[in-house]
Amino acid sequence: MLHSPAPQPAVEVTDLRKAYGNVVAVDGVSFRLEPGTVTALLGGNGAGKTTTISMLMGLVVPTSGMARIFGVDMARHRHKVLHRVNFESPYVDIPMRMTVHQNLEVFARIYGVPDRDVRIATLAEELRLGDFLNRPYGKLSAGQKTRVSLAKALLNHPELLLLDEPTASLDPDTADWVRTRIETYCRDENATVLLASHNMAEVERLASRVIMLEKGRVIADQTPRSLVEHYGRQTLEEVFLDIARGKRDADTTGARHDD
């Protein structure tokens, strides 16, 4: 009987560890993201999310273990796949004095986007950037900046999209609009998404899988629904609070914990 080969994972993290001196930021994390899936990486502040994503992008070298994207070791050969990846984060800015169009043009050249003007015009229409395409990025509102960051992240039609709190500091309407755009992109382009977020409603809406980190370790890896059921809660936010407050495996039937 013939078997088709197993699909190459978009992301494969194996026993990843990062220590800064005596401080262990990531401690033996392993997971695998299949192509076309949306996975949320959750955890409180200092849980190891940013360090894990940074090692995925090759910005930080692991102390041990390995992070692969499309089969490529990111610590050694990251430039072989970086054109197939992109990311969006409100914590990494885009040059303020350049206009939106200038910024997108520069990144389009760096990523090797063909027909740059056509691609920028398409994204401007899809993400409603037309009114401020020629305004300096620094003079935009938070919502407009997020849309520009998203346009930058989608310029190269990334197969893997890393999103770090993509709707942080946005009003509910704009945040909902951004989530819809992300959903549309994933559906249309069958992209793999790794989403770091503190907004549990966003995670429940976008992600089909949740990887929960605590003190640098994976403490849960399942669907949002099964995680909620496992903890006997109504929402993912309640589960998150349980874990953050050290109630991981206890009192799974009680009411929400108060401070």
């Binding site: 360090t51 885009i94 350049m98 200038q102 990523y111």
Partner: protein, 281 residues
């Protein structure tokens, strides 16, 4: 089975000289947009070279009236200051362009893009020449208008001086950029000050023989010393010392290679220590 990248529009080639040129061009365009977006920045590029040129030009005019040496060596100080400013402006053009990425918190975007480290360096080198042109072309013209000193009258010698000073500035830029990568903006002042360590030792305004004997070997290990000694030989004796320029070039090539190796080492250290993610002081 779905091929996740099967239906996507293909990107342009990612490897080879054309891909590198495209990425370098993109980054140069980014810096050019920043330069031209702010007239105070344009003015700042010219400000210090112009002040220096005027101050040393008037000093030389005064000395020419009172000392026979200065009278016979017209252009010595003003030539020195113009060449020194080529070194300073080129290094600052390189280093400050990189600092822009920290100030705008854009470094993460670049480091997570397909841009290679050598392409970043190549873009910074081109930008340093661009900024130098903006700064020095008007100042060199005004030196001719005010004091009758035509830097182009130095001919081929000027090309040799220029090439050597630019190479030195790039080496200093590589080291300062690497230091900032590793230690963040807390080390920013290093970028502004590193070039001035050469000022007393590289014999910008006085001959090598002025230095104490123990310091002269140090000066001779610095490529700019040969340039400024060469300028004095040209102005006072009318002699172009080609051998000295070749020596300066050899030293420059050696130091540039060491500077690039140091930059790569600092970059790897930054990836190990996590300082690329921190972006602060």
């Amino acid at each position: 089975m779905t091929e996740t990248h099967g239906t996507r529009p293909r990107l342009l080639a990612q490897t080879g000289p054309a891909a590198s040129a495209r990425r370098i061009g993109g980054l140069v365009l980014r810096y050019w947009y920043v330069i031209r977006s702010s007239w105070p920045r344009m003015a700042e590029l010219i400000y210090w070279p112009l002040l220096q040129m005027l101050m040393w030009g008037f000093l030389q005019t005064h000395l020419a009236k009172t000392t026979s040496f200065a009278a016979n060596a017209a252009g010595l100080f003003i030539g020195g200051v113009l060449l020194w400013d080529i070194l300073v402006r080129s290094q600052l053009g390189f280093s400050v362009a990189f600092l822009e990425e920290y100030w705008s918190r854009n470094l993460g975007h670049l480091m997570m893009s397909p841009l290679r480290p050598f392409e970043l360096i190549a873009a910074l080198m081109i930008v340093s020449l661009l900024k130098l042109s903006v700064a020095m072309v008007p100042v060199a013209f005004l030196a001719y208008v005010f004091f009758g000193f035509n830097v182009l009258s130095l001919g081929f010698a000027f090309a040799a001086f220029f090439a050597n000073l630019i190479l030195t500035s790039w080496t200093l830029g590589l080291i300062s950029t690497g230091v900032v990568l590793r230690w963040g903006l807390g080390a920013e002042s290093f970028s502004w000050l590193i070039v001035f360590v050469l000022l007393p030792v590289a014999c910008v305004y006085y001959p090598l023989s002025t230095l104490p004997g123990w310091l002269q070997p140090v000066a001779l290990a610095l490529p700019p010393t040969y340039v400024f000694e060469g300028l004095r030989a040209l102005v006072t004796e009318g002699v172009f010392r080609g051998g000295d320029m070749a020596m300066a070039l050899a030293l420059n090539l050696l130091y540039f290679c060491l500077g690039y190796a140091a930059f790569r080492w600092f970059l790897e250290e930054a990836r190990r220590s996590g300082s690329l993610v921190q972006m602060g002081e």
